[in-house]
């Protein structure tokens, strides 16, 4: 049998595997029903893992700081294990990013919030790279939920810092606010509508779609290379004809599979980073709204 004949079937299977399915019954559909889906399950697993890691590390850090205060030696402050050191470096990375983007005064306040986003998405994306695992960022529902939380927070910060009216006023640039009445009415209304759409619709939409598209497309690419390897490598599927040419294709797709996997590890990190930094930028624009 020609391996290419089996390819559409494999691709269909791949797309089915990546769609949202009930966790206990992989064949069914979830049209509007509130059931535990495979993505929800892996989202909960990622959440529990993140909470566990940070609880353990925070306890260790607290114990160490207490010990350092007791003995009075600064050497006790250094992390003891590589794991604790790694998590500490990650938290410092987020704190420095928050200070860099939001500002030295307001930045540290949002470190916990941004860190939650970053590590939650990162851990989930790494779960998605384990065969059989899923990242909740691979379903549009999961990323929309994250983007809505981001939207709520930056709008809330805008209201808290500038007042309800003040935040909406700040959507219009200060140059327009100093114009004559006719200018304010005409240009102000136009810019307000434009800015309103861009802030409340385009921002969360692009946040959600960016994360979803990157993870989904990445998994599709990995799946396609895996399917090619399975079809053209003669040992893996029974009853397929093979030749030197097909073995070459199989070997090349196996090499590409490994390379793309490495690239996906990088993408998992970069997408978590991009989501976090964009949330930080949006919070920054809310904190300093009156200056724009």
């Amino acid at each position: 049998m020609n391996p290419m004949d089996l390819l559409p079937e494999k691709i269909e299977h791949l797309v089915h595997e990546l769609s949202v399915l009930p966790f206990n019954d992989m064949e069914g559909t979830v049209a509007g029903a509130a059931v535990l889906t495979n993505y929800t399950f892996w989202g909960i697993v990622a959440l529990v893992t993140t909470i566990l890691i940070f609880t353990v590390v925070a306890r260790r850090e607290a114990r160490r700081i207490a010990l350092a205060a007791e003995t009075g030696s600064a050497a006790e402050l250094a992390p003891r294990s590589r794991f604790t050191s790694m998590i500490e470096a990650g938290v410092e990375f987020i704190r420095d990013m928050a200070i860099d983007v939001i500002g030295p005064k307001d930045g540290p306040k949002y470190t916990a919030f941004l860190g939650t986003f970053f590590f939650m998405i990162l851990v989930s994306n790494f779960y998605g790279l384990i065969p059989g695992g899923k990242t909740f960022a691979g379903s549009i529902g999961g990323t929309v939920a994250l983007a809505l939380i981001s939207l709520l927070v930056f709008v809330w910060v805008g209201f808290a810092k500038n007042g309800f009216i003040g935040y909406f006023k700040s959507l219009i640039p200060s140059g327009v606010r100093e114009m004559s009445l006719a200018g304010r009415l005409a240009l102000g209304t136009y810019i307000f509508v434009l800015e309103f759409i861009s802030t409340f619709i385009v921002r969360p939409l692009t946040l959600a779609v960016r994360l979803f598209a990157n993870m989904y497309a990445g998994h599709i690419i990995l799946g396609v290379f895996a399917a090619f390897t399975a079809l053209f490598w003669p040992v893996l599927e029974e009853g397929l004809s093979w030749s030197i040419g097909s073995i070459t294709v199989g070997a090349v797709s196996l090499v590409f599979l490994v390379l793309m996997y490495a690239f996906e590890v990088f993408v998992a990190f970069i997408q978590a980073y991009v989501f976090t930094i964009l949330t930080a930028v949006y919070i920054q624009s809310s904190v300093h709204a009156s200056e724009h």
């Binding site: 860099d100 983007v101 385009v202 692009t206 960016r210 598209a213 980073y273 930094i277 964009l278 930028v281």
Partner: protein
Amino acid sequence: MEALVPGLTAIGKGLAYGLAAIGPGVGIGIVGGKALEAMARQPEMAGRVQTTMFIAIAFTEALALLGFVLTFLL
């Protein structure tokens, strides 16, 4: 006529994403190249250039993603 619909839809899907990827592809190339240039000129600014670069890339990429979504909507 009816028989043409699935094929034309498939072509449309391919075109929607393919065309949507041209602009952002060029854009991200320019952003990355300029950032590299800036980092080579002033290595001490590399951290801040990188941060700004990621933000710029994210905004440029959004256009390609709209095309990606359109592909699924078609």
